[in-house]
Amino acid sequence: MLDEVVTVARSVGLAVGPLVVLFALFQGLVLRLPPREIGRIARGTALASIGLFLFLLGVNFGFLPFGRAIGAAIGDEANRWLLVPAGALLGFVTTWGEPSVRILADQVDQASAGSIRKGLVLVAVSIGVAVAVAAGVIRIAYGLPLLYLIVPGYLLVVFAMWWSDRGFLAIAIDAGGVATGPLANTFLLAVAFGVAIAMGHEDLMVHALGLVALIALAPVLSLVFLGLVVRRGRQEVRES
């Protein structure tokens, strides 16, 4: 237990260190902010470091072991039919609750001048992630190489780039990282390990990793697809 705490504390130091050094350099050479501002920045950095420490502690103690237990349970022979529904459910609900997806939905609503509703974006992205997680879990279960999913996925993105509306595309591309926050990412990472171990895969580097990768693809494809549908809808209205 104490060992874990020390390890976590060390990784927080390693994580925040570069930022502190960079700012100190800047403050000394260029910025020369007044002490009050420095105090605020120092307090914020300390707060963030404590937060990071507690987060990592919670993840290491509670999240990772239980995520693995869930992965092992749905990877078990008796429950194998649950792989897809459980994966899809986890993908859907974690995206649905993610605050940054709601911000994204607002942006799309505004960029499309209301023709693509907020709620529609939220549903589309959540479904996209649900499909991605389900596909990722199936991939792990059957031991398929990740490139079967990644290569067509990104080729589709590149292809779609030429067809979709510029402003819309801009939002879609930057949306990749927002669908699942740190909570969901770390939990799904652990679930994937559990499934891979339950399936008896030997090399976890090949089989347990690669689930989170698909989640980044989902919002991009969902949004580009939505954009295409909306554009077609507009054309039809114009023609009639």
């Binding site: 914020g44 509670g62 239980f66 990282g177 926050g181």
Partner: protein, 230 residues
């Protein structure tokens, strides 16, 4: 300070609650783990929620202003090489502090049986983001359309996926997924907007687009290359 925390907590709880509920439902129906383990999960969840709340509050209070100061001051005073150097450093420093980058790196170290250390991977990922933030800055100066650049790098990623050792491929694409988060995105955007504001005849929306996407493909590419030659 308390007000800051109060502002963040609802968002974090809203993000965590669905996960907690699904996990509880799975526990009751199929997992049936010992009660102690489930309680440990709940305790972990509570710690993680508290941690995220403090982290977000800290980012708002200190780290974002820090990014904004540097982003606004630097382009006005510095030369192009200095701006690029800082862009790299900021991209690197904010990515290496992202919570999910840290966790992914730890998990990869476990999965590789210690062959690939968490620190090495975190450094490679962060260097990838930093390098591609530099490319994004150069693009803003040169005016090459972002779409071409993104399409080109995605295609390079697809090609490298076939060429790189299969063991590194899942890690590389996972890395792309965890990079741009609550810490790095706002700071990188602040720097880019500060930079755009000092260039003549630029449109912030058009020029800012794709920065984060470019950062994450940068992490993917560098990890793939590292797997080939590292």
């Amino acid at each position: 300070m308390l007000a800051l925390l109060r502002a963040q907590l609802p968002d974090v709880v809203r993000a965590a609650a669905p996960l907690g509920l699904v996990v509880a439902a799975l526990q009751v129906t199929i997992v049936g783990a010992p009660a102690a383990e489930f309680l440990q999960f709940l305790a972990g969840l509570a710690l993680a929620i508290l941690g995220m709340t403090l982290l977000f509050a800290g980012i708002d209070l200190g780290i974002l202003p820090m990014g904004r100061y540097i982003g606004a001051e630097l382009p006005r005073r510095g030369s192009l090489p200095l701006i690029l150097l800082t862009a790299f450093a900021l991209g690197f420093a904010t990515t290496i502090a992202e919570p999910d980058v840290i966790v992914l790196a730890q998990q990869v170290e476990t999965a590789s049986g210690g062959d690939l250390s968490a620190t090495t991977l975190a450094v490679v990922i962060s260097a990838g983001v930093g390098a591609f933030v530099v490319i994004a800055m150069l693009r803003i100066v040169s005016g090459v359309p972002m779409v071409y650049l993104l399409a080109a790098f995605y295609l390079v990623g697809v090609v490298l996926t076939f060429v790189a050792p299969p063991r590194i491929v899942p890690t590389a694409w996972d890395a792309g997924s965890v990079t741009t988060g609550a810490l790095s995105s706002p700071v990188i955007l602040a720097l880019a907007l500060g930079f755009i504001s000092v260039l003549p005849k630029r449109n912030a929306v058009e020029d800012g687009f794709g920065l984060l996407g470019l950062g994450s493909i940068g992490a993917v590419l560098l990890v793939l290359l590292f797997g080939m030659w590292g």
